[in-house]
Symmetry: C2
Subunit: 412 residues, 2 copies
């Protein structure tokens, strides 16, 4: 195994989606990521979806390739152990990712006394220190108001925790930027992100804050239409639904050509005295464009035009449920080099993805399963915290730390 | 100005959301990001939303703080200039971010002949080389099937291009990881990401691929409910709508206490003979829990309980449209140190965010506006491509390159 961040060590204390994803992304690039948890598992140890035996598929998914240390954080000794692991020496160590809002022993001021060049990336809820999760940030910044069928009265929240996923990825790049700075200047630092700020900044990056200030605009729901140009879903004769895109001029011309609707589109443009090569015009006239295209799709099964659409290089796709996608789309199988069949102990064998990027220098690396809770406790106490075997045994005996083996023993 | 990636130079050739966002994120951490475009602007130069004079708020939002070079890419000389800018010497230069599918002169094999240690991050549509955009990837992986009101027949796509945003952030961390590798080992490389793989991997990370393989489960639409535990939206007496979260035990107990519904929840648990401290039980019983809580919210205005909810540390928020959020929420104003009032030439003055992370070593940096198309052509041709003034003048005269000044001149 030879991965791009090999040699880097990051300690993670986290729950939910964003920070576990950040740690896992680093682990999948080859960093040694040590996750610590309470003896009974963290806040998300039992999060749905679950496997039949009750183990969390969610937890397994977000903790792949990490090392796990289980520590009684209520004890002073347990807290000292964690500090020691976070601040352990090594030029490529001394990095800490967290969204646990633990004041005192786990904050930057305290930890950086033990290791001056510590890099700590903290994800908080909002800048006032209030707790926020994806499900509260998203309603507060307005995406549910612009999502859903045209004219639908109520806000519709997406099932995807997009802000968590974006924040987790920002935590990764922020940590790498801070480590780069440390390498050059020797100085560590705390980097603070909030979920709310990630969402607010992103909305602004997309032009939505300017749109309010400059145009006093309120973006309305527009169903599954692509905003600002042309893109629409259509139901076909087979009952399947496709999404077709006419965003760029090339995509638009391809779509018109493939459906043989050029004359009708010309008439439409003439009637409104507009130039359909202006993408905004396509957006404004989207309902009339859709009315022209809908019969074409309604008369055809997807298999009737799929080959032509692909041969013409159209940008389009078929709507599938996740179950259908996982069952039918080779991109979710080992046909895709990103996926490998992995045995996740206690859950089963299924295709598991590595890091989405293919790094030319290293090639694809087979993903590692998630650890059992505390699987690496003994190893990390020895190799990282540098405790003696005697000290480690005492910590297990005193119930300050646990591992799958030792837990069984003490329960017996 | 003193930012964490100061000194790094990245060249960007891009359109749409993901790669422009990646370049901008690097620019907002202090990197010199040089974006090149066709003389008339790239594919997204006129993307909605637009300012009243037709300038794109979208483009301005995603290109903040970059340098802009306008080049005629149809000419051999223009293409050579771009290669020269991408592969210009310098230990912290020689990095290229792109999603333009240009074969030949712009691919890694060709460019890396001019600079052996080039780091190039390419974002493609899918691994088969087919074009894909957020609007086609999302239907194909199933999120619209699980989004929307319970029982709603049709798929509902979110208005947020989440996959683009995630892919853009992955491009940033992939570039930083590859640069770190180059710093240590001297070797450049190509890093390839596809939008479809980013989506497929992320769905798997969340446990959704395992859920199909292990449980043969199809996640159904559940409206605005938080999946797997308790979280729900409620309409209040004032007509406002709130989202309240009972995900962790602490959040759940707080919600029950704040609404005084403890006795009813106990009866509900007794009736089903379940333990409500199991978050999955709260998910299974969510409709009955909601029926208990709904009257409480229906009888109260948001202002009646907002203070108490905050004092008790509940995790909750108010649904707002983006317009309401931008107008009413101080997090979208200069009260939030992430935002500064910026004059975006040709568009106006409005609050603009910097990078969401606060880096302890550098503090917040005021964001820079987006450049005018070609604003830095002359500077980059001199400082980066190292052309003489005479050569630069000829390129302008021959229409190989342009800048706002020179464009006016030649039009006159």
């Amino acid at each position: 195994m030879n991965k791009i961040l090999k040699g880097m060590r990051v300690v993670e204390g986290s729950a939910f989606v964003a920070v576990p994803l950040a740690g896992m992304t680093l682990a999948q690039m080859g960093a040694e990521v040590i996750r610590f948890d309470r003896l009974e598992g963290g806040l998300d140890y039992g999060r749905w979806p679950l496997a039949p035996d009750g183990q969390s598929l969610f937890w397994a998914g977000l903790n792949k390739g990490k090392k796990s240390v289980a520590v009684n954080m209520r004890s002073r000794e347990g807290r000292e152990l964690i500090s020691r692991i976070i601040t352990a020496p090594g030029p490529d160590a001394g990095m800490f990712l967290t969204n646990l809002r633990v004041r005192g022993w786990m904050d930057y001021a305290t930890l950086s006394k033990k290791r001056k060049d510590l890099v700590m990336v903290s994800l908080l809820g909002d800048r006032e220190g209030r707790p926020q999760v994806d499900y509260t940030v998203n309603p507060a910044i307005g995406v549910p108001h612009m999502t859903g069928p045209e004219g639908h009265a109520d806000p519709v929240a997406s099932a995807l925790p997009a802000w968590d996923l974006i924040a987790g990825n920002l935590a990764v790049s922020s940590l790498l930027a801070a480590e780069r700075h440390r390498l050059r200047h020797g100085a560590g630092q705390e980097v603070v992100l909030t979920l709310k700020d990630v969402a607010a900044a992103t909305m602004a990056h997309l032009g939505l804050v300017g749109d309010v200030h400059v145009n006093d605009n309120e973006r309305a729901k527009s169903g599954n239409a692509l905003y600002g140009a042309y893109g629409q879903d259509f139901v076909c004769a087979c009952g399947g639904r496709v999404m077709v895109i006419g965003l760029t001029q090339r995509q638009w011309e391809g779509l018109v050509k493939a459906t043989g609707t050029g004359d009708q589109m010309k008439l439409l443009a003439k009637r409104h005295n507009v130039d359909m090569s202006d993408e905004g015009v396509r957006w404004t006239l989207r309902h009339e464009i859709t009315a022209i295209l809908a019969p074409w799709f309604a008369e055809r099964r997807i298999e009737d035009f799929a080959g032509d659409f692909n041969a013409m290089g159209l940008t389009w796709s078929v709507f599938r449920s996740t179950r259908e996608a996982v069952r039918e789309d080779p991109d979710f199988s080992e046909a895709n080099p990103m996926f490998s069949m992995i045995e996740q102990p206690g859950i089963g064998r299924f295709p598991v993805p590595g890091h989405p990027a293919a790094f030319g220098s290293h090639g694809r690396v087979r993903p590692a399963p998630a650890p059992a809770l505390g699987a690496n406790t003994e190893e990390v106490l020895g190799d990282v915290a540098r405790l003696s075997d005697t000290e480690i045994s005492r910590l297990f005996d005193d119930g300050i730390v646990a591992s799958p083996d030792h837990r069984k023993k003490s329960a017996a």
